[in-house]
């Protein structure tokens, strides 16, 4: 008789996020890009049909990727494969779980499917990552069962300013919560629109109960070093790699800068001669701010 095993526990789901710490998760649109990402040292790849900057340019409704495209990427690499579902679209999430993806990103980069509700993530064996712009949003997602939070930034812009704002907001509020008096936590919970039990847990631990990664606008090794020093534990890089002139070299450089983020000599060394970074956009000129999606 086989020994007893229990799948889908919180420790198992959050545990994979712990294994991704100090690493780079790269957006890829086909098997060839996935190989380049893995060759460069990505800890995981995010399979999607268009990188955020193309979604932004093309407009229209952005949906879950074609399963055959996701399966092609699963066959091409040995690292974990993540894929995105629309906010609130639990049927897309069910499909991704059935495909055996290792993490589902309930993502504002795709067009939301529900204007009031996110997916009830506790019902799934596969773990979920969700975006957040502030502590309240992060705690609401964790309350719904997210096992990993990424600060949203503004995807597809190659502009780090929003990622920095969101990280500082989340981590700054955690610091303030930590030093506050116990009776203040009820007011925090009300203001953050978050469960008081989670507010108590954050105050006691001095950090989120799940890992906090950074996404949305990372385009250079120094960008990665910046957000890691601010307190992110890993980085997601979307358009920043494959919209640059030398994706393979830039990907390797961002991997090294993420590991050695406190060592400016190494960040300087890997930043040399990377060619053109993605062009990037001013936040003020955008028609659509993806970070405003999600509730």
């Amino acid at each position: 008789m086989a020994d007893e095993r229990t799948t889908g526990t919180a420790r198992v789901k959050r545990g994979l996020a712990e294994m991704l710490r100090g690493g780079v998760i790269m957006d890829v649109v086909d098997a060839q890009q996935a190989k380049i990402a893995e060759d460069a040292g990505a800890v995981a790849v995010m399979a999607l049909e268009r990188v955020p900057s193309d979604i932004r340019r093309d407009g229209g409704v952005a949906r879950m990727s074609d399963p055959s495209m996701i399966e092609g990427i699963q066959k091409a690499v040995t690292v974990p494969v993540m894929a995105k579902c629309r906010i609130g679209h639990f049927a897309e999430a069910q499909v991704l779980q059935a495909l055996g993806v290792d993490y589902v990103d309930e993502s504002e980069v795709l067009t939301p499917a529900d204007e009031a509700h996110h997916v009830d993530k506790w019902r799934f064996t596969v773990p979920f990552v969700c975006g957040a712009t502030n502590l309240g949003e992060a705690l609401r997602r964790i309350g719904e069962g997210a096992c990993l939070i990424r600060s949203k930034g503004e995807a597809g812009t190659g502009n780090i300013v929003e990622a920095v704002r969101h990280l500082r907001s989340i981590l700054g509020d955690i610091e303030r919560l930590k030093v506050g008096r116990s009776e203040e936590r009820y007011a925090w919970a009300k203001e953050l629109r978050a469960p008081v039990e989670l507010v108590e847990e954050v105050a006691a631990r001095g950090e989120l109960p799940v890992p906090l990664f950074c996404a949305g606008g990372i385009a250079t090794p120094a960008d990665a070093a910046l957000v890691m020093q601010l307190g992110a534990q890993s980085v997601f890089v979307g358009s920043g790699i494959f919209k640059s002139s030398d994706p393979s070299k830039r990907a390797r450089a961002i991997v090294e800068a993420t590991t050695h983020y406190e060592d400016a000599d190494i960040v300087a060394k890997v930043s040399r001669g990377l060619g053109e970074a993605m062009r990037g956009e001013e936040i003020g000129t955008l028609d659509v701010k993806l970070a405003e999606r999600g509730w």
Binding site: D3, R5, V12, E18, M19, P80, E256
Partner: protein
């Protein structure tokens, strides 16, 4: 006695916290000079292909291999176990394990994240009951060499063991909140 934790990528913080809670003098290791000063090392879980590449770019591969060959006590968990093995099946073709631990592992042998699991493990010589095993995209040990002493099995497969002072686990004791295996390692090697 200083215990290093290889901190290139992965769950190094949890190992460092577990060791510090036991009163060990802990140092994170990212560079060759940081390796020089440690008397034991933990090789944590993470993504083995990523750590494999970072060993080269950080110029740690040669000195780490040399010190492990010279008998530096080590505790290798999950990806750390893959790094130490003499043979890796289903890895990347350019993945080059350090070959300091005579066993064969199959990468992601228990399946994808969906199949990751928890299980109670009976550990030889460990007091106070079973140990909570957390297996995350874990490697399967398919063969162990004659010098390997197996300390726990799951479904008849070795999941915890040691070859002299090189300890290995295919699961994650650092995520369990149970410090007994770290305590055992520290007691034996320090």
């Amino acid at each position: 006695m200083k215990v290093g934790v290889l901190a290139l990528q992965g769950a190094f913080r949890e190992h460092a916290e577990a060791l510090a809670a036991l009163g060990a003098d802990v140092a994170l290791v990212k560079r060759p000079e940081e390796l020089d000063s440690v008397d034991a090392i933990v090789l944590p879980g993470g993504e083995s292909t990523t750590i494999d590449k970072l060993l080269d770019s950080s110029e740690l591969r040669a000195p780490l291999t040399r010190r492990l060959r010279d008998g530096l006590p080590a505790f290798a968990t999950c990806a750390g176990l893959i790094l130490c093995a003499t043979e890796v099946i289903d890895g990347r073709t350019d993945q080059s394990p350090l070959g300091v631990l005579d066993l064969t592992v199959r990468r992601n042998g228990y399946g994808r994240q969906r199949e990751s699991f928890e299980a109670s493990l009976a550990v030889r010589g460990l007091a106070d009951g079973d140990f909570p095993g957390i297996f995350i995209r874990a490697p399967v040990v398919e063969r162990v060499g004659p010098d390997v002493e197996v300390l726990a099995e799951f479904d008849g497969v070795p999941v915890l063991g040691r070859a002299h002072d090189l300890w290995f686990a295919s699961f994650h004791p650092e995520l369990s909140g149970d410090l007994r295996l770290h305590q055992l390692f520290v007691n034996e090697v320090c």
